[in-house]
């Protein structure tokens, strides 16, 4: 499998025999009957009807106006409301575009202190979750629909019984980032002296991190990491860019530092991990290490740094008798030196749920003086608060039966936890088990009481991702169903006077946020806050005081135990549960947009796959798509294999979030057969009060059979084509192919402003794929399902090509967003017989869907293969009227047999032209495309290429700029900036050597 490779030529995959083949891809029986059953002769009739319709009058349609003119809703005019994203606890700022009372697009909120305008793929797809036809639509009691009054009565009576029986009342929730919600829940619990247990499934910001700081500074908190100030970033098995607790905010700060490289010197990013993560893919240097090795590396780094920094002696002593480093020795020493060199300008993070490692990392940051600079403890992160031991405690007390009432809020522990079956049984036996969720999850099925909750876009809320950052969210639409805000439910049950959550929220703000504000000016302040989506000006930060540094005793003790831990054995196979960019912890695994999104690294969509190193695959004798069974402890999962370069030979990476029972029917799109055999949470182990997701001793065996992986990239070699570049420094010039100017036969064409042009900085682009989903949402791009994806009939207008450079065991990874290049000399335009694709005055390559007859000649002749054909009537799959609400009314929904492609969001360009003309402005180039707007790294700049100034011009002037296939003379309108790999070491402002 592994082959000798030069360090220049990009490549893409290992298995050359990956091209779609065999029956499952090409043969008839596979898919078409499903379509045929639905369509056969009706469609024939339909066609003749269409033909006739062409010669007849249009059918009678009715125009039904509102009864009473609604305020601030003008039919057909979009309104923008600020809010906060609730797709995950990160609470990024968002702006919803609302048309006729329905949100049709979510964008990032530029004014947000943390997310700074980006919105990730999951956030973008949250709109689709709002219009999900399979949401819970009304409260139910023991499977029967009831009114809220009945439900509340039932819950209250039960609660009283439970209290009388002297049993515990527990609320199990994902971290409550909303202070008001937290207060509502806590006050409810106070009424029944119950406890709140917060828990977030999936990897990222593990419990051990907070426990380490509890030992270190007396408070179980997770510090806020600021990568924008980090010249040197060292990450041990952590994936903050891709699947961390706040990927958007971290990406923003990480990219900010890289974009500033020209002025502040080149940053450097070292990743030490066992399985190739998105963060690892973006690192300047990557080491492969198992979980045990990572712990050892962390401790060794600490001891070396401790030796060479004052006040580190105690630590150094505690770490005596550390196991030998083996192959890593020299590298660790060098890295320690580098860290010391960048005192106060470095950042070390770890994703391990291991106390010793987290403690080591925390101490590293402290000894290196990074605290207060890149590591903020005074205003920590409030995105993760749970401690695994509390969860463990709950499970034991559930088993022992001291719990009388359990309220599960937004979580699905039955399927997103280690021992689902036991929990399910326990829930069944509970006197009162309440599921508060918007989805028919397995937990909801196991609970007698199901309080159907609002979607985040339907409800009020406030959010405090870190002290001093306080945002609001307002309902973007009236509730679609008879649901109720989760926290309003708690208000009802706790019997407080104000059961209206909005009023409750305002009440709290009056007291806590704007204390001492008069009624009148509170109104003003409140309105302003709602309008802007956040509180302008700094909010009083509680607990800004310096933290008590914990006593040295337990610290050294813990370190010593860690040091004594068994030295890593090299060839023992270990399973690592990873989150994927699209699914994260699996909360939104039922959204077709996210399932269809090809993973940026594996390039597989819909179907989960175990990531196996080339050498290991050879040992197991498996190929891509072969089914493999991984056993860890009692549990096991069976998935297809994906051979991944850059994977540690003895690490099997298994994505969580798949195999949910409620994902079977996915919004009209055929979901892959997804048995619970694919639920990786089963492998997680609750051990010593800690939930282990990585370093799980495992065994693997091919279980026979194949699960065809819908891979979007099946080619292994790039045949040495100059389609992507990486350079060693920010000054290095890319030697791409270029053509002399003025070779235009008919002389230069007039170039009236604006002439649209896009520049994409591959050095900032992390491949997070937010843009892909943003494009899908903006342009009504259909989801076609696993089988069609397997046939390479993906519809994404914007895709992210992934390339490797160098050795197959640990290559560099490159991402290249590929979209229609809007060629000046577009090959597609000359060949269309009916002139359905023609050039516009502002240099766009227009696609007129209603003129297209579908010869596919244009797609054949496109060198970039960015044109997408409607093989079937995809749009007809959106049968549920609720789900059709997601469509953008300004963009045509394409029918069968029509070609479509990226248009640089021409609907936005036209809108901005109209606005400019109405306002009497000459300039109308200040417009953003959907992909650009969503990008957390701000890697995309877009505008008029005639402008000599501005971001776009600056980007295009950089030496790293190149264009793909420019040598064809098609004059692409997209410029790329090559990725920089900093091998030399960071050149920031150096900290003084101690």
């Amino acid at each position: 499998m592994t082959r000798e490779r030069d360090t220049k030529t990009p490549w893409m995959d290992l298995d050359t025999s990956l091209a779609p083949r065999g029956p499952e891809r090409s043969d008839e029986g596979g898919a078409t009957p499903a379509f045929f059953a639905r369509r056969d002769f009706l469609k024939l009739a339909g066609i003749s009807a269409t033909a006739l319709a062409a010669c007849e009058r249009l059918p009678v349609r009715h125009a039904i106006p509102l009864l009473v003119p609604a305020e601030d809703v003008t039919p057909g005019v979009a309104v923008h409301y600020a809010g906060t994203c609730t797709a995950c606890p990160a609470a990024c700022g968002l702006v919803a575009t609302v048309r006729d009372g329905r949100p049709v697009k979510l964008e990032g909120h530029k004014g947000h202190a943390l997310s700074q305008g980006g919105l990730c793929a999951v956030g973008q797809a949250d709109l689709r979750a709002l219009y999900d036809g399979h949401r819970l639509q009304r409260p139910s009691l023991g499977g029967k629909d009831v009114t809220w009054a009945e439900l509340d009565a039932a819950v209250k009576t039960k609660l009283d019984e439970v209290q009388a029986a002297g049993k515990k009342v527990v609320v199990l929730s994902s971290t409550l980032v909303s202070p008001s919600a937290r207060q509502a829940v806590l006050s409810f619990l106070a009424a029944y002296n119950g406890t709140l247990i917060e828990h977030d499934p999936g990897p990222g910001a593990p419990s051990a991190l907070r426990e380490a700081y509890q030992i270190l500074s007396g408070r179980a908190l997770a510090p806020w990491f600021d990568a924008s100030k980090a010249d040197l970033l060292v990450s041990l098995g952590d994936d903050p860019l891709g699947t961390g607790p706040d990927p958007v905010a971290f990406t923003a700060s990480w990219a900010a530092r890289r974009r500033a490289a020209e002025s502040q010197g080149a940053p450097r990013h070292v990743q030490i991990e066992g399985s190739l993560s998105l963060t690892g893919a973006n690192a300047d240097e990557r080491w492969l290490a198992t979980s045990a090795e990572r712990r050892l590396i962390a401790l060794s780094l600490l001891s070396q740094v401790a030796h060479r920094s004052q006040g580190g002696q105690a630590v150094a002593d505690a770490l005596k008798g550390l196991a030998p480093l083996g192959e890593f020795a020299s590298r660790v020493e060098a890295l320690a030196g580098e860290l010391l060199k960048h005192r106060g300008h470095g950042l070390v993070v770890s994703g391990a749920n291991d106390l010793g490692e987290q403690l080591a990392v925390a101490l590293l940051n402290r000894l290196l003086g990074n605290e207060g600079k890149t590591v903020d403890l005074t205003r920590p992160s409030l995105l993760r608060r749970g401690l695994d031991r509390e969860l463990a405690g709950l499970l034991t007390s559930l088993a022992s039966g001291d719990v009388g009432a359990l309220f599960v809020l937004g979580l699905d522990p039955v399927e997103q936890g280690p021992d689902g079956e036991a929990l399910k049984a326990a829930l069944g036996k509970l006197p009162l088990a309440v599921a508060i969720t918007d989805r028919p999850t397995a937990t909801a099925a196991a609970c007698r009481v199901v309080a159907a909750a609002h979607h985040g876009l339907e409800s009020w809320g406030d959010f405090e991702p870190r002290p001093g950052v306080l945002t609001l969210s307002q309902p973007m639409t009236r509730p679609l169903f008879a649901t109720r805000s989760a926290f309003e439910s708690f208000l009802h049950w706790s019997g407080v006077p104000t059961t209206d959550y909005r009023l409750y929220l305002m009440e709290r703000w009056r007291k806590d946020v704007f204390p001492g504000a008069q009624a009148a000016d509170f109104g003003a302040l409140w309105t302003a806050a709602v309008a802007s989506g956040s509180v302008s000006g700094a909010v009083a930060v509680a607990a800004a005081s310096a933290l008590p540094s914990g006593s040295a005793g337990p610290v050294t003790e813990a370190l010593a135990t860690a040091a004594r831990a068994t030295p890593p054995s090299h060839d023992a196979l270990e399973a690592e549960l990873i989150a994927e960019v699209a699914l994260r912890d699996g909360r939104r695994a039922h959204i077709p947009w996210l399932r269809e999104l090809p993973d940026p690294l594996t390039r597989a969509s819909w179907v989960p796959c175990v990531r196996v190193a080339p050498k290991r695959a050879a040992k197991l004798g498996v190929k891509d798509g072969d089914l493999i069974t991984v056993e860890a402890g009692k549990a096991s999962v069976t998935m297809g294999v994906r051979i991944m370069p850059g994977q540690h030979e003895s690490v099997l990476a298994i994505p969580v979030g798949y195999g949910r029972t409620d994902e079977v029917k996915l919004a009209g799109v055929e979901a892959p057969p997804s048995a619970s055999a694919q639920n990786a949470y089963r492998l997680a182990k609750l051990e010593g009060g800690r939930l282990l997701l990585s370093g799980l001793p495992a065994s693997a065996r091919p279980s026979g059979g194949r699960s065809p992986l819908p891979l979007m990239q099946v080619q292994s070699e790039t045949a040495g084509r100059p389609v992507i570049h990486q350079v060693a420094s920010y000054q290095e010039k890319v030697h791409g192919e270029h053509l002399p100017e003025g070779r235009d036969l008919f002389g230069p064409k007039p170039q009236p402003s604006p002439q649209w042009h896009m520049a994409i900085d591959l050095d900032a682009c992390t491949g997070c794929s937010a843009c892909v989903v943003a494009c899908q949402a903006e342009n009504n791009i259909a989801s076609v399902g696993a089988e069609e994806m397997g046939r390479h009939r993906d519809m994404h207008w914007l895709r992210i090509d992934r390339y490797y450079v160098g050795d197959a065991d640990n290559p560099d990874v490159l991402f290249e967003p590929m979209l229609c290049q809007q060629c000046g000399h577009a090959p597609c335009e000359t060949v269309c017989p009916v002139a359905a694709t023609v050039h516009s005055t502002d240099g766009l390559n227009q696609q007129v869907y209603n003129r297209c007859v579908g010869t596919r000649y244009c797609a054949n002749n496109c060198p970039y293969k960015t044109r997408r054909f409607n093989w079937f009537n995809n749009e007809k799959k959106l049968t549920d009227p609720v789900e059709r609400l997601v469509l953008n009314p300004d963009v045509v929904v394409r029918s069968r047999g029509v070609m479509e492609k990226c248009t640089f969001c021409v609907q936005r360009l036209q809108a901005s032209r109209i606005a400019a003309q109405k306002e009497g402005r000459q300039e109308w180039a200040s417009v953003e495309t959907a992909c650009q707007e969503s990008c957390p790294a701000r890697a995309i700049s877009f505008g008029d290429q005639n402008q000599a100034e501005g971001a776009l011009a600056a980007q295009r002037k950089k030496p790293r700029a190149f264009q793909v296939l420019a040598e064809l003379g098609v004059e692409p309108r997209v410029t790329y900036l090559a990725r920089v790999r900093n091998r030399q070491g960071a050149t920031g402002h150096h900290g003084e050597e101690a």
Partner: protein, 459 residues
């Protein structure tokens, strides 16, 4: 080729023995008057059911969508355009034989011209089917034609080779059809006089009131000559323009200046192969070996040899230019054809089109019916795969390797291919039942000349 013709007419007769005018008429026309034999019925049954398969497959495609085919985002054309080019190619021999050879005064053409022309008509019909059904929205096919409309007016894109195709093929079809019909007028006259009742009425109509007067004959000859002159350039133009579909694109393996001559040569090649196949069956079934003699077949075998080598030359030239150009994309495409996933198709093409015809160097093999028949069939297979190679292997690995893919046809596509053959043979079988397969007025003319020559030789 005229050299061949003269040497031939000098050496031995084009019509074996001297059956006499009456016999010729009887044999050709008589077969139309009797009832069809079991052989015909069997053949017709097979052809018709194949056609049925095609109708179902096409109906399914139009009902459900192009998604029923094996195409994908990378390979936008597969069997559809392959078949299209293949059939257009077949449709070449007819007009070539009847028009060009007429102008070149090749007398040996007389016996075979009629059948060849018929074949042309039906092949072009099959070809024209594919541009229509390969569209995503075939019911809007009329947008391909320029016509005044209320859209402002919105015209077709005259830069698009597909539009040129529409014009080229429709013109070629019309002219071929007229030429074919014109050629049959005198024979229809004869048939009118031989038949009674309804048949007579129909042949009467078709013969356009033909009276064998010298004046009519003289005008008729002139008309034929003019039609021939009109048809000749079309023979070359049609396939040239079809080749533009590829030559004007940017895809490596398509973007080639050699395509026009290469395609025309290939077309003549495959066309003649098909003529041989058909006539060998026809003459056996109709017992007219003395009219369509081994000489005729041998002539055509020689044409196969010539064009086969032309095609082979084109293949090698392509490889050379790809290498010599130094263009990495061009080079890769041809490496990929010869060694990639579709190498089998490439080498199959190469063997059938370049190596197989070499057997026709030997006179003995040119005269062996079996060799000739199998050879002609193989050539047709090879030519189909030539088009498959051009269309698919160029597309499935073009510029950006990240998008490279693979193409495997579905049963639907195979069904459509079968159907096109069904259509072709059904039409041909019906043709041999209603119209004279051999232009007997021309053959008689040839016979007369032959007698003249014989008398001169005696004197």
């Amino acid at each position: 080729m005229s050299a061949i013709g003269h040497s031939l007419s000098a050496s031995q007769p084009l019509i074996l023995g001297d059956p006499g005018y009456g016999a010729i008429t009887h044999d050709v026309a008589g077969s139309l008057e009797g009832r069809p034999g079991t052989a015909w019925w069997a053949a017709f049954l097979v052809a018709a059911s194949a056609l049925g398969v095609g109708v179902v497959a096409i109906g399914y495609t139009i009902a459900v969508g192009i998604g029923t085919w094996g195409l994908n985002r990378t390979v936008g054309w597969g069997f559809d355009i392959t078949n299209f080019v293949f059939w257009v190619g077949i449709g070449h021999a007819g007009t070539l034989i009847s028009a060009i050879l007429l102008l070149l005064r090749q007398r040996w053409r007389t016996s075979i011209a009629r059948a060849a022309e018929a074949m042309t008509i039906f092949a072009v019909m099959c070809a024209a089917l594919f541009p229509f059904i390969h569209m995503g929205r075939p019911w809007l096919a009329f947008w391909m034609g320029p016509y005044p409309n209320t859209r402002g007016s919105l015209w077709v894109n005259f830069r698009s080779p597909l539009v040129w195709d529409v014009f080229a093929i429709s013109t070629y079809f019309t002219v071929s059809l007229l030429f074919w019909y014109l050629g049959m007028v005198p024979d229809f006259g004869t048939l009118r006089d031989r038949t009674r009742g309804l048949k007579q009425r129909i042949y009467g109509w078709l013969s356009l009131g033909w009276d064998g007067s010298a004046r009519t004959w003289q005008r008729y000859e002139k008309a034929c000559l003019l039609m021939a002159g009109l048809a000749t350039p079309l023979v070359v133009s049609v396939h040239t323009i079809v080749s533009f579909d590829f030559a004007t694109s940017v895809i490596p393996g398509w973007h080639t200046t050699i395509f026009p001559p290469y395609f025309v040569a290939g077309a003549v090649f495959s066309g003649f192969a098909m003529v041989i196949t058909l006539l060998m069956v026809t003459r056996k079934v109709m017992h007219i070996e003395y009219l369509i003699t081994d000489k005729h077949l041998e002539q055509m075998a020689k044409v196969l040899l010539t064009t086969g080598m032309l095609v082979g030359f084109a293949y090698t030239t392509e490889l050379f230019t790809a290498w010599y150009s130094g263009n990495m994309y061009e080079r890769f495409t041809f490496m990929n054809r010869a060694m990639g996933p579709y190498a089998w198709a490439y080498w199959l093409m190469f063997c059938c089109n370049v190596f197989v015809p070499q057997v026709f160097w030997s006179k003995r093999l040119r005269h062996s019916a079996a060799v000739l028949f199998v050879g002609s069939l193989l050539v047709n297979v090879g030519m189909w795969f030539e088009r498959f190679n051009i269309v698919v292997t160029s597309l499935h690995r073009d510029y950006l390797p990240s998008s490279w893919s693979h193409y495997v046809p579905t049963l639907t596509e195979v069904g459509i291919l079968v159907g096109s053959f069904g259509l072709f043979f059904t039409c041909f079988l019906l043709f041999v039942r209603v119209a004279p397969v051999v232009a007997f007025h021309e053959v008689k003319h040839t016979l007369a000349q032959q007698r003249e020559e014989a008398r001169h030789a005696a004197a």
